[in-house]
């Protein structure tokens, strides 16, 4: 048995006087992920203190300075070389994402980039907290547990946002390798189909058991994700506006609530700063406990409404070390580890301090409220423990029995991270001309397009999620007469949380993601993602001028200047899109180092991936629309201009063609079109609306048709377009952004058109055809002849059977 003193001696590290190489070896053995400059800073700090650090201190520093917690790449200086020009970016995050939000200056942004989630106003009394993050590395190792704890983590983020928000929607986006991948895989890697099944099951079980509807999301398949799947988990929560601000006061007690602390998930944060390899620590993986988190949620919200605590945050990566460190960053904190309730009694001090056991929250509680708070949590069967107090001396002091475990200056911990300048290079692809591939018949291309993995029905996944719980899902993920058509976005009416049945304001959440554009130019990928997210939410009735955005960057190692260069391009795209659309970023996250060694030992990086998630209020949920055709004889209008920009498109992928121009967004015209459509939807003049994305006009019209079981006749000559386009294929399959196909009754046509401007800068809108009773997709080509006549039920069959065919 070890006495505290002996334990401390065993925990001491020898850092002073060691060479960089020795320190690196020490870091590797302990999974610390500190680089040379960071080790040097630690060494210098403890040299000035004239003592060796304890293991817990170095671990605390490593956690706090990890990519996961401090976003080093995004906040460090970068020397960016673009063609022949080189410039220095001091802080990529500040100069792109934050600068854009500051520039658009929206008064309804209540809290941005400060808290665990971004917060926007929702009516006069309420606010919405929105957060999306990734859980990629754990999901690669253990898909079920990784996805589950990912959902648990983001739900806790929203719960620990402000004084606590009630989660009302989960949304999940995944990137996987093809489920029918036949090639070799390295030892220990899961097959993509197993990853998919596990991740979907994890998201399902956690969300369903907590009673949160999972109603939004998407999946992207690409074999370059086979070793590094991406799992984006997002949650929207609702909280009263008075609960948005929180402040820790000196003298507040530090109260741990929820699950007990065990040896789970050690090194999760530092693990995210390392390439994924066979030697990943198994302790980084956990299984979530949804019921425990639900109890924390219920107790916490009750305590919030009684104003029993002054601040709260979740125990995420880094455990108590980051939760207490964050809360006490401005004041100081004193923690006694012996007071922490443990799962097993043989934990070392540093393990208690850094464990990432799930379902725990940390609260700052004024001493006079402690009794009442304990009673509220006890009523839910939820354990609490006072583990210390917040001070005002600016120090982080952690003891275990009589031994000092951590004694650090908050200033060093939060501001001492040395910034290393990195190199980034971007060079545009040499040729913009598309090349290669074999021509296909249009009807053949359409059939392959609807059956393509990135287009086909997601029903196999969606039906596993409970998207109805809480009873507010007005527009559901699957739409149409048979409830199986692909919706653009969901609309939620959070009456169960607000208790107000007279107020019909709701909100909608949509996503944009397309790594294929990023392969050509990450800048235009970022623009296209923002555009896609906004047009999706406009389609269902969301207000595009009130949209708030989240960014999630998933990239390979930023140590590679080319990868970092692409990341810089994408971030600049985000900045310009946010400014152009007047949509602020309110929160975001990045996950880097998504690469691992394939079966031949070569590094396999993921394609640079950006997920844009957008949240917008729906002024009246009763006016929201779905995407299926509602009847025969209605006019079809196409909003937005079609250009010859098939680079990165699904059509090129089907033909095996590479290169070409990626679609380019002009935000001003796009926003004008979205706003006009929104006005028309609000007046009830729109029967259905669906955005044109993968597969362009052809896939969009087919989806609207087979979901509503009405056909349509489209004349390509009427499509608003670049006059230089002479090809039917381009008009059918171009993925030019900002375009929406809208169904309007003949009586409403003139009223509908009045919402659209006629100026040079406004979005073009033209009647391109009409719906028909016979469920056939008919297209008239530029020369006036019929070029396509496809039975919609056959297209639907092809669209529906892809995923079940691969997963059984």
């Amino acid at each position: 048995m070890s006495t505290p003193a002996a334990e401390t001696a065993a925990d001491a590290l020898t850092v002073l006087g060691k060479s960089a190489k020795e320190l690196r070896a020490l870091g590797d053995a302990r999974h610390l992920s500190l680089n040379d400059a960071e080790w040097a800073a630690v060494q210098a700090h403890f040299k000035s203190l004239k003592r060796e650090p304890s293991l817990a201190e170095v671990e605390t520093v490593a956690q706090t300075w990890s990519e996961h917690c401090k976003h080093k790449t995004f906040t460090s200086p970068i020397r960016f070389t673009e063609g022949r020009k080189t410039r220095t970016i001091k802080n990529l995050f500040q100069e792109t994402i934050v600068a854009a939000t500051a520039a658009v200056k929206k008064p309804w942004c209540l809290s941005v980039f400060e808290d665990n989630a971004g917060v926007v106003a929702f009516g006069k009394k309420w606010a919405l907290a929105f957060k999306a993050e990734t859980h990629n590395h754990p999901s690669a190792l253990e898909p079920y547990g990784g996805a589950e704890t990912g959902v648990g983590g983001v739900v806790r983020d929203v719960l620990g946002c402000g004084l606590g928000a009630k989660p009302v929607l989960n949304t999940d986006v995944f990137c996987f390798g093809r489920p029918d991948y036949k090639g070799p895989l390295p030892e220990g890697a899961h097959h993509p189909s197993r990853t998919l099944r596990g991740v979907v099951a994890g998201v399902r079980d956690y969300g369903n058991r907590m009673g949160i509807p999972t109603a939004g999301g998407g999946i992207w398949f690409d074999d370059d994700y086979r070793l590094n799947p991406l799992v984006f988990v997002g949650t929207v929560g609702i909280l009263p506006q008075w609960a948005v601000k929180k402040e820790v006061r000196a003298g507040d007690l530090i109260v741990a609530a929820g699950g007990r602390t065990g040896r789970d998930g050690l090194h999760g944060a530092t693990f995210s700063s390392a390439n994924l390899g066979a030697d990943a620590p198994s302790s980084a993986v956990q299984i979530g406990h949804a019921i425990a988190e639900k109890r924390v949620l219920d107790a916490l919200l009750r305590a919030r409404d009684r104003k029993l605590y002054s601040s709260v945050t979740d125990c995420g990566a880094g455990g108590f070390s980051s939760a207490v460190g964050e809360l006490g960053a401005k004041s100081g904190a004193r923690v006694r580890l012996e007071a922490v309730p443990l799962k097993v009694s043989d934990l070392d001090s540093w393990e208690i301090w850094l464990s990432e056991s799930q379902e725990r929250m940390v609260l700052a509680v004024p001493p006079k409220n402690l009794k009442a708070l304990e009673a509220v949590f006890a009523a839910e069967g939820c354990e609490t423990a006072v583990i210390g107090e917040f001070t005002k001396d600016g120090r982080l002091l952690v003891t275990h029995h009589d031994a000092t475990v951590v004694d650090l200056d908050m200033n060093f911990l939060h501001k001492g991270l040395p910034r290393v300048e990195r190199e980034a290079v971007w060079s545009a692809p040499a040729s913009a001309k598309a090349s290669g591939g074999v021509e296909k018949k249009l009807s053949q291309a359409l059939r392959e397009a609807v059956a393509h993995l990135n287009v086909c029905s997601r029903e196999w996944v969606i039906r596993q999620y409970d998207h109805e719980v809480q009873g507010g899902t007005v527009i559901k993920p699957l739409q149409g007469v048979r409830h199986d058509g692909p919706g653009d976005a969901c609309v939620i009416w959070p009456h169960a949380a607000t208790g107000d049945l007279e107020d019909f304001t709701g909100f909608t959440v949509a996503h944009g993601l397309n790594p294929d554009y990023g392969r050509l130019d990450p800048y235009w990928m970022a623009m296209a993602c923002v555009d896609e997210a906004l047009r999706n939410l406009t389609c269902v009735g969301g207000d595009p001028s009130r949209a708030a955005l989240l960014d999630n960057f998933c990239w390979a190692s930023p140590a590679d200047p080319k990868q970092l260069g692409a990341l810089v391009r994408a971030a600049e795209g985000c900045r310009d899109a946010a400014k152009g659309f007047g949509a602020p970023f309110i929160s975001g996250k990045d996950s880097l180092y998504n690469q691992s060694k394939d079966e031949k030992g070569r590094e396999l990086p993921i394609p640079g991936t950006l997920l844009i998630s957008a949240l917008a209020p729906v002024p009246d949920v009763r006016k929201s629309v779905t995407m299926d055709f509602k009847g025969p004889g209605n006019a079809l209008y196409l909003i937005g201009r079609t250009n010859d920009e098939l680079g990165g498109s699904l059509y090129h992928r089907l033909l095996g063609r590479s290169g070409g121009e990626p679609p380019k967004v002009s935000p001003a015209a796009a926003l004008d079109g979205f706003k006009s459509l929104h006005a028309a939807i609000n007046k009830g003049q729109v029967l259905s609306a669906h955005d044109l994305s993968d597969g362009g006009l052809a896939v969009c019209a087919a989806e609207m048709g087979f979901s509503g079981e009405f056909g349509c006749l489209i004349d390509l000559d009427e499509v608003p377009r670049d006059p230089r386009i002479y090809s039917n294929e381009t008009l059918l399959f171009s993925e030019s952004p900002s375009r929406i196909l809208v169904e309007v009754t003949p009586e409403n046509e003139s009223a509908f058109l009045r919402h659209f401007g006629k100026g040079a800068k406004s979005a073009p809108v033209r009647r391109v055809g009409q719906t028909t009773a016979n469920p056939i997709l008919k297209v008239v080509g530029l020369d006036g002849s019929s070029i396509m006549e496809e039975a919609l039920n056959e297209l639907k069959n092809a669209w529906q059977k892809t995923l079940p065919g691969m997963l059984g």
């Binding site: 898909p143 197993r194 789970d264 299984i287 406990h289 069967g381």
Partner: protein
């Protein structure tokens, strides 16, 4: 004088679907194993085993099994012997998938609390395993490999494959 230390009681309870019901979980497990190449497997049925440790008597554990762990309409339960006698399998297999001791078992924790809420003594620990009974021609080695790629993740699970009497 020798002191006899009473070991903590360990009870194993198995809960399974009655044979007349279609076992969807089993069918899905069978498909996963067949996708791993074990085409000669013909049947799979799934049950759950609860390992309950603590100051409970055999009768108390039975009561928990009957009233808490088992849905009397569709399921049946039985007490397992701690070390089942080895039997000649004749193409019958039993695969137990346990979470490793270092991994939190949320089902086990919930059962532990629920037993205490029934008014029975609180168990020291409860762990839950999935048990697959398989019928079909294969070898232990092949089956172990297929299980590690489909039903269990060696990182967090311990899978025990035995030939078992049906």
């Amino acid at each position: 004088m020798s002191v006899r230390i009473q070991p903590t009681n360990t009870h194993l309870i198995e809960v399974r679907l009655r044979p007349e019901h279609f076992d969807a979980e089993g069918a899905s497990a069978l498909a996963l194993l067949q996708a791993q190449g074990l085409m000669a497997l013909k049947e799979a049925r799934v049950s759950r085993v609860f390992e309950i440790k603590g100051p409970l008597s055999a009768n108390q554990v039975l009561q928990a099994a009957k009233d808490l762990l088992c849905d009397a309409v569709t399921q049946e339960h039985r007490v397992l012997a701690p070390t089942p006698a080895p039997m000649n399998g004749m193409n019958s297999w039993r695969v137990e998938v346990w979470l490793k001791p270092t991994v939190t078992d949320p089902v086990g924790e919930t059962v532990r609390e629920a037993i205490a809420e029934m008014g029975l003594p609180r168990p020291d620990s409860v762990r839950c395993a999935l048990v697959y009974r398989l019928v079909g021609r294969t070898t232990k080695l092949q089956l172990e490999k297929a299980v590690s790629k489909s039903l269990a993740n060696p990182l967090i699970h311990r899978a025990v494959v035995t030939e078992a009497h049906p």
